[in-house]
Subunit: 192 residues, 2 copies
DNA sequence: TGCGCTGCCTAATAGGTTTAGGCAAATTCT
DNA sequence: AGAATTTGCCTAAACCTATTAGGCAGCGCA
């Protein structure tokens, strides 16, 4: 009986591929076992449970996006950096829809702390170095940017923008123009 | 044997409550049957299948949000309308996390057409009447607003903004300030 | 060469999904 | 009212996923 050579890492990678193929929802310990031509129970020596698998895929996706983000930011600033960084999320979601969905998993505090979440917010903050914002406006802007990136990408993936003109690519470009203009001219809190 | 009086509508409403209580992921035909103290198979005269149930909950959530949105917009314009409308999504997601999650379900074309999706985009467009935007910028702005609303609310729900100052409420207010400023001063496409 | 650890297996339990077919309650007709 | 019919919930069964317990064989090392 030849051993399959299972490890948590290989399972996670295969799980990520599976997610991209059939959707993150359909990622199942059983399907993964089938893919390795192995009995389901065998996976439980490497994974705590199904949720553990999903969490690992989420962490992988967050790392991969962070890596791409870092590469995109290298040597860029201002609107250039903004655009390149934003495209990282959009492109990643298009190439790896299952992984992107995984990254939206609500992580428990332990996993969240071990995740690339901090890298993401640090990189977003780095983009703002090209603009003139002090705390706490910088944090507000980080959150706004994150919201736009995630919101646009996920509405687009949901099909929210399809079947209606103009092309969503155009809206993406113009939204980034708009964010760039906004960051260059960040408004003071309005008097309440 | 007393009849339970099941209907698709009652099941949908109960499913929505269940979603808010235990999370949309955990909404299951079995759990719903338990809640009505009825055998699982009985639900299949009212629901095509599990996916049908989820779709109905999603449609309900979209309708409810659209209703609230319409109420919020009545008699308001400009920044007031923007703020009230945005709060509809955020408040709804906080009051009804399971329903809000349901509303993110990717609908098949049939369901999407029958959904309140169009109402949502028409209302968002109505907000822009308080600003001076022509097509196609209006469409771009509609999409950007939708992205911010959904993105912020869902990152917040995921816990993305917790455990770090400042309060996410503040970022929400300032983001709306920013959007208001942006819409008042929507930039032309930058020369490429 | 044999010892032990590790990795994958069999077996079993529990719960969710879905279909087929039955009986009784509710509704309609005479 | 009583009979006929429709409808609603049930039993039964097949199948899938998740998870745990315990077994045996291969591989690494002495």
């Amino acid at each position: 009986m030849v051993r399959a050579g299972l490890t948590a890492e290989r399972l996670t990678r295969a799980g990520a591929e599976l997610a991209d193929e059939v959707g993150f929802e359909q990622v199942t310990v059983s399907a993964l076992a089938r893919r390795f031509d192995v009995k389901v129970a065998s996976l439980y020596s490497h994974l705590k449970n199904s949720h553990d698998l999903k969490t690992r895929i989420a962490l992988l996706a967050l790392e991969e996006m962070a890596d791409r983000g870092a590469a995109a930011l290298a040597g860029r600033a201002g609107r250039d950096a903004l655009s390149a960084f934003a495209d990282v999320y959009r492109d990643y979601a298009r190439e790896h829809p299952g992984r992107y969905a995984a990254a939206q998993l609500k992580l428990d505090p332990g996993a969240a702390a071990a995740s690339a979440g901090r890298r993401h917010s640090r990189m977003t903050r780095a983009i703002l170095r090209g603009y003139d914002l002090d705390e706490p406006d910088q944090t507000h802007a980080v959150r706004l940017l994150g919201s736009v990136f995630h919101g646009f990408v996920s509405l687009e993936a949901q099909g929210g923008f399809s079947h209606s003109a103009p092309d969503s690519q155009e809206s993406w470009d113009r939204s980034l123009d708009a964010l760039d203009a906004l960051l260059r001219n960040w408004p003071a809190p309005r008097p309440s």
